[in-house]
């Protein structure tokens, strides 16, 4: 429509006629907008932290296995080994993807671990500590001793497992495990360290050692591995990275299956959806309140200006023009509210982005969905949500003004001019 700036100017001036009322309404909208932006950022931050925590701790965000390995996890369903995929080449190819931060090989097994005084069942994991540290963080929880040195027959035990075995660094333990060739592997190991992951199940059963040592115990060839775990630069991109890797590794043979955390930890996807759903509910509630606030302000405004609308009609203003007059006012109100809301939200978002508030001391660490959850107020912000929120707020303001605009159109001109 022509003269767009004229109508916006008129809208602005009309808002200025009841400055206090307009400021209160705009501030209410601005606070709502700021709250939505900050809350969304915190929820996104919590969601991402939860996903990271659920994947970075142990399982990784990308997993490469033999297609038959899951769910039985048979020892002989390996990737690599004689005639298989060269593991070094596999790791090289995975790490070459620009969205992969690092990759590490693993071997798994299960067995009995015995100390001088007792024995327990153990989940065995063979790994390359240096590579593993770039992909997952559970080894960061080393509370005592050192990481196992490959070829030295050293193990790191989960804290609870070590407590139950009444053993510790420097002590010797015996491991007995069924091997891939049907034999029963057994060996003496020195406990090099104790790890606390925070996951009770892991801490009560985990036995970590060098990948070569576990391959030897389980009678696997040096190149045999059960898994390559990868870390994606952005967890939300993991599915796309997995698809890309799947194509990139296809020529290495059919014994490779690439999966993202979204497939092997679907419950985390559900949780992320829950967070997003909660975000939408907050957004809808806030914007409904905004809509009522704007509608109320505009209704009062149109009621007070009945005579003016009658004059406009007598001057030949079409109903559509009257709607534009009222809606322009709401549009200006929405734009002012968005600007003010951005001024309120921006410092908070920047602060919580760069200086997250760690509430762990107050709330502690919680295990939830097999994931260690720490209460940290950290904002994960993108421009998309605030921009969408701003657009939604302005649209809400405009839509909320439609009923008052309709009322303005219906003002009976002769009666309003006569003051009736």
């Amino acid at each position: 429509m022509k003269e767009r700036s004229f109508w916006l100017r008129v809208g602005w001036r009309n808002l200025g006629r009841h400055r206090r009322r307009s400021v209160i309404t705009a501030l209410a909208l601005a606070w709502g907008f700021a709250a939505v932006v900050v809350l969304n950022g915190i929820m996104e931050g919590m969601g991402t932290d939860f996903i990271r925590s659920g994947t970075d701790l142990m399982v990784g965000q990308i997993r490469i296995q033999h297609p038959a390995y899951e769910p039985e996890r048979e020892l002989w369903d390996v990737v690599g080994g004689d005639g298989g995929v060269p593991v070094d080449l596999l790791l090289e190819r995975v790490a070459a993807d620009p969205d992969v931060l690092a990759a590490a090989p693993r071997v798994y097994g299960a067995g009995i671990i015995a100390s001088d005084s007792t024995s327990r069942g153990g989940m065995l994991m063979g790994l390359d500590p240096e590579r593993e540290g770039q992909v997952t963080h559970f080894l960061d929880g080393l509370v005592e001793g050192t990481l196992p040195a490959s070829g030295e027959w050293e193990v790191v035990l989960g804290e609870e497992l070590a407590r139950q075995l009444r053993t510790g660094p420097g002590e010797v333990v015996v491991l007995v495990a069924p091997a891939a060739d049907g034999s029963l592997g057994n060996e003496l190991y020195t406990v090099s360290g104790i790890v606390r992951t925070g996951n009770p199940e892991v801490d009560a059963a985990q036995v970590v050692m060098g990948i070569d040592d576990l391959q030897a115990l389980l009678a696997l060839a040096p190149g045999d591995i059960h898994e390559v775990v990868g870390a994606a630069a952005n967890p939300w991109d993991a599915a796309a990275v997995a698809r890309r890797l799947s194509a990139a590794l296809a020529d290495l043979g059919p014994e490779i299956e690439v999966a993202a955390w979204t497939e092997f930890r679907p419950e985390l996807v559900d949780f992320a959806s829950l967070i997003r759903g909660a975000n939408w509910i907050i957004l809808i509630i806030v914007f409904l309140m905004a809509a009522f606030g704007v509608a109320n302000t505009m209704l009062m405004g149109t009621f007070e200006r009945r005579r003016e609308f009658a004059v406009m009609k007598s001057l030949g203003m079409r109903p559509g023009h009257i709607v534009v007059t009222v809606v322009s006012e709401a549009l200006v109100l929405g734009l002012v509210a968005v600007a003010a809301g951005a001024l309120i939200a921006l410092p908070l978002v920047l602060w919580l982005t760069h200086y997250p508030v760690d509430l762990t001391r107050v709330a502690g660490e919680q295990m939830f969905m097999e994931t260690l959850f720490r209460f940290v107020l950290r904002v994960e912000h993108s421009w998309a949500f605030p921009l969408r929120g701003a657009a939604a707020l302005v649209v809400t303001a405009v839509v909320a003004a439609l009923y008052p605009a309709f009322r303005a159109v219906r003002v009976p001109a002769a009666e309003a001019l006569a003051g009736r």
């Binding site: 004059v311 406009m312 009609k313 001057l315 203003m317 002769a414 009666e415 001019l417």
Partner: protein, 251 residues
Amino acid sequence: MLDRPGTSGEPSVRTEDLCKTYGRGETAVHAVQRISVAIERGEFVALCGPSGSGKTTLVNLVGGLTDPTEGRVWVDGKEVGGMSERQRARLRLNHIGFVFQAYNLLPVLTALENAEFPMMLRGVERETRREQVLELFEEIGLEGLHDRRPGALSGGQQQRVAVARAVLGAPALVLADEPTANLDTVASDALLDVMELLNRERGVTFIFCTHDPRVMRRARRIIRLVDGHVERDAEKETGDLPSWVVEPVNS
């Protein structure tokens, strides 16, 4: 400066058995009762009569601001009654100018914006309309006041802005409801001079609702309404004020 209004063969305004009743039953008020008049183009007509005689209602019916209970009304040969709200808006925008007793300028607009408002609605280019407004402002003694909001203008100045708003864009008809009621003698005379000039030189039809003898003296036709009826309708010489105009009702 302004285009001369069209001159088709039709009267500027024609009514036929026009009635307007407010309310129903015993409380019904018959504001206009069976009025049939024709006002030719270029006439300068005063509607007079006591308060409640139906002057404003008749003007509102002519302007399409309210619907008749019965009867018909034509403006420039177009029947107003059957028009949609949109068509009426177009009729008012292109053919009718309104001047109100209470000025009724839009308070958030400057004098210039108020005066150019109908032209803007018509889609006249900004430069053209500003040129026309400023030219007319100069003619009617509003030069230098174009940036003022209504609140910063005197009553006479506001009413002149209202007249400018009504006549700019050359409407065929101006309906003026008690335009001098809130003005002093000097301001009234100045305003009437402007209207008379526009009537004489540009052929704009003026219909006034008025109690003001100064307006009636200048009118060339006076229609006296009493209780919604036309009691008397007569042409006269400018400057005369017939005695029947000010006679009490039922005298």
